[in-house]
Subunit: 211 residues, 2 copies
DNA sequence: GTCTATAGTAGGATAGAC
DNA sequence: GTCTATCCTACTATAGAC
């Protein structure tokens, strides 16, 4: 059945959630999936291959769930707020630190690295679209490299996810701190026409010297 | 000898660098340290315990190496520049992704979690001092929770480290993007007395409503 | 496609000689 | 303190019955 392949994908994620990437073996995965251990190799050839497939498939699922929310984000603060809701909800379902686990495992496993890079790119693309849209009329757009900034945001988010695993309260405070920073950017935006024009002028100057 | 305990600490790091946290076994560690495998258990009781000790000891070493540099940082941009130099140099010595590896392993291992939290706190404290010093005269200080912001910065840094493992060019671009953001903050700082006063006023207002 | 059985390997941990 | 030898467990992967 095609059902078994799917169960193995789900089982792989469950095993990573429960035991970390290090403890996700053919046996723990099969147990979590409720299928026979040999089927891992029959359907996917190796544990690594299954993990890579699970990483991509799961990320595709989650991104598509949040895709509409990303589309409705109107400014940086809302993006941060979405990030926070996403963090909270996905964590409750245990879907969060999984990507971070894959990322860690990818450091020493090329096959996993390829899949993880692709999975992260799915999130980054969503953020990129938001930035392009929300920064369209901002001086920031002139100075910022949007895809690069999107990558930085994704990476930072993953870092805070990992941080949460060792210091939950600290991670919560970190999100608060980013809220404060976003609030500051908002204040800059509301400074009034004179200051805004001055800032825009400076930014344009800097942007020129960069080219 | 006390020498053997040290060799095991070094071997543990070497093993994590080479094989990731998942591949750091008593055997690979002992091989990297050039000592007998049984000594892991004689000196540290278990592999986890050795890894925890290695994480703390190594972080203490690295932090003390960079401590003077942290002390000479005068503004946010210099902090970012230090972060970049730190990233480059430590990575060349392979000392970088180690903390990220520990952090990933810590997600499913309480003993490792404790040590990793403490190790990360060593870096965070350094950053906290820098922020407190450099933001002393900035409107930012009123609005920002300095320890929380330091935590966010540490976590984000670790995230970019992990990101580098799957997409080196992307990580490089992420640093560039953060440079651009720091540049923007600098521009805001240089806006001139009128705009600065306006911003300061707004910030004070916001800060009040928060209390 | 799915199962059992098993070969072969690697790892955690300990006992006991030196 | 350090070594060899070893036990036991868990893992990857495959062969072969059904």
């Amino acid at each position: 059945m095609a059902d078994t392949k799917q169960r193995l994908l789900d089982g792989a994620l469950l095993a990573v959630r429960r035991h970390g990437i290090a403890g996700a073996s053919a046996r723990t995965i099969a147990a979590a999936a409720g299928v026979n251990q040999a089927l891992v190799f029959y359907h996917y050839g190796s544990v690594d291959e299954l993990l890579a497939a699970a990483c991509l498939s799961a990320t595709r699922d989650r991104v598509s769930v949040w895709s509409n929310e990303f589309r409705s984000v109107a400014n940086l603060r809302e993006l941060l707020d979405l990030g926070r809701r996403l963090h909270a909800k996905e964590r409750r379902h245990g879907n969060v630190s999984v990507l971070a686990q894959f990322l860690a495992g990818a450091q020493t496993d090329p096959r996993l690295a390829e899949a993880t890079r692709a999975a992260l790119a799915l999130w980054t693309t969503e953020i990129e679209d938001v930035l392009r849209r929300t920064l369209a009329n901002s001086p920031l757009a002139q100075i910022a490299n949007i895809p690069a900034l999107a990558g930085a945001i994704s990476a930072a988010f993953v870092g805070i996810e990992l941080y949460e695993g060792v210091d939950a309260a600290g991670a919560q405070r970190a999100f608060d701190a980013l809220d404060e920073m976003a609030g500051l950017l908002e204040l800059v935006d509301e400074l009034g026409p004179i200051a805004t024009r001055a800032l825009r002028g400076k930014v344009t100057k800097v942007a020129k010297t960069r080219r």
